[in-house]
Symmetry: C2
């Protein structure tokens, strides 16, 4: 569907998925472009961020930190947007801001939560490498994982938006970094471009044995962002005093009911106990006030110095967001997934 | 079997239990009383401590912090013992010490690991209220659980050696304390004698609903020492930022293989994540150097001031240790379980 300046294309939640979402759970809707009232701005979406947490907002229960998306309403999400009309004294036409405009071409805002992006040369970075996903990596790894020189850090989804940054920051701390990714190409990227010490393909057989061989000194930090079989391979290798920041469990986001047995919880608890492991969940929204400034300063420096490399997986066209999102949950993205909705 | 001064009765591990241990997994053996060599003392066991961790040492795998008890060898365990012969310059005959003499009347020691108990009026307290079990409660609750004024603390095995102290220390911190125990008598004791705000009988139906009703503001600290169904009732009530010190999972010590499904791990991980929960295993052996002195000072004061009440479940006769231990794993003890092996 071509884009027209007088139409606001919106991707609505059409149905609550049972298990894995499909493109049929979304629908493309057209509405009039809204008109800002006094105190409002009209935002044009330039880039839309697609992130695994959105899967949870498709379920009726929503999450502890954000409510469910109502049926027949636009999917929510962070955007880089341009102010195209303004009746707000704080924002001028043409200004580019970080917003939460959702999966649509246009949105109104009263200015709350908008962050001006100034003259950023690559504004989509505000959604990834200088934004939420890299900030998630920074806080989870440094504040909870606390890797020390020479320790072994394992991170799954190693070329994803979060995992790729976790591994690179861990290397900067002097840790040994073992990645896990889906497919040989991603593994090569993790080692060759991101500087991981090694990276294992979770689609190849015998992940357990290969991970054990790759971690001869055990695992000191496991950055949990997937769950499932990777967690099972990691658990027996965790060292005494290991730290497990829990950032996501993408392998389970589609579970409609608890999966069949055996019950893996008792073994996990026994391991946690005997090895004095600290496991801690975190939601990045909690940490902006305290830690975003430090993150942004460090990350901007690392990027400028070429010490951290980012890879963006950019999709063109809002109408392709549903398929791209379905692919994200299947691990088909390669880097931070963003949808280019309009020219920046 | 009556006791004779020239015989060392020893309780040996006869078989490695499959699942729940029975008294047939132990056997009573008689040996000559050993004779100390130069540099050794001969210890007479006065009190033997029985603790759930011993179950793990009956399995061939042992634990991360202590090896398995070999078959046909005496069960290990902490004791209060009297020096009855000494060829060690540091210990005189008649001195009472904290030792690890195991399930037997007599043992030799080279003095390593012996702690003189001076003129303690109730030396068996060195095994419980002034010893390992209360120290476990102190470290787990204060250092990991970190209850704050007005928060809700839930502790299972509420009248046991650890749980009873957890709850009382939590009350001293100004927390609201909800206990869970097996049977109405224990629940009455927890409220009436130990000062818990309330205590629920886990043998009565609908624990989930009763726990939810007893925790209208949710749960901020869950001191995990049982696992199983209690954990399932606690999980949905944990608040954002809750802390879960993991001290033991007695409900699972008898598991020979992972229990059947459904698999409870994914739900646990999702809850941990969404509610930013910190879960941390600990082994009390790690903390003596740093924290025992503070514990001992605080606990001695609380006991002297009557602010903490201890209950000892005292069994008479070494020969009854196996049955008492089997009962401990079934929750039949009422207070810290000690075996009086000889007059103090």
């Amino acid at each position: 569907m071509p884009q027209r300046p007088d139409i606001n294309r919106r991707i609505l939640l059409a149905a609550r998925p049972l298990g894995e979402p499909t493109v049929q759970d979304f629908c493309l809707d057209e509405a009039a472009v809204p008109v800002p009232a006094e105190g409002q701005v009209l935002l044009r979406t330039l880039y839309l961020s697609l992130d695994p947490y959105m899967r949870n907002l498709m379920d009726e229960a929503g999450t502890r930190y954000a409510p469910a998306v109502p049926l027949k309403q636009p999917m929510v999400g962070a955007t880089v947007s341009r102010v195209v009309a303004s009746r707000h004294p704080g924002f001028g036409v043409g200004e580019v801001v970080l917003a939460s405009a959702g999966w649509q071409d246009y949105a109104l805002s009263d200015g709350a939560g908008l962050t001006p992006l100034g003259g950023m040369t690559q504004p989509s970075l505000a959604l990834g490498g200088l934004g939420m996903t890299a900030f998630t990596a920074y806080v989870g790894l440094l504040d909870i994982g606390q890797p020390r020189l020479g320790e072994t850090v394992v991170v799954a989804a190693a070329t994803g938006a979060v995992g790729s940054v976790v591994g690179q920051i861990a290397r900067l701390q002097g840790a040994r970094v073992v990645g896990i990714a889906g497919g040989a190409q991603k593994c090569r990227h993790a080692v060759g471009q991101l500087g991981f010490d090694t990276c294992l393909d979770h689609r190849a057989p015998a992940l357990d044995e290969r991970l054990a061989a790759a971690c001869p000194d055990g695992i000191d930090v496991y950055f949990e962002n997937v769950g499932g079989a990777v967690f099972d391979a990691v658990l027996p290798l965790l060292n005494d005093g290991a730290r497990v920041p829990v950032c996501g469990v993408i392998a389970h986001y589609n579970d409609a009911t608890p999966p069949p047995g055996p019950d893996r919880l008792p073994r996990m608890m026994s391991t946690l106990l005997q090895r004095r492991i600290r496991m801690q969940g975190f939601i990045i929204l909690d940490h902006y006030a305290d830690r975003f400034e430090a993150f942004h300063r460090d990350m901007a420096r690392w990027l400028a110095e070429g010490r951290i490399v980012l890879r963006e997986d950019r999709i063109d066209g809002l109408e392709h967001a549903p398929a791209a999102f379905v692919g994200l949950l299947q691990g088909r993205n390669f880097g931070k997934l963003v949808v280019r909705v309009a020219d920046d």
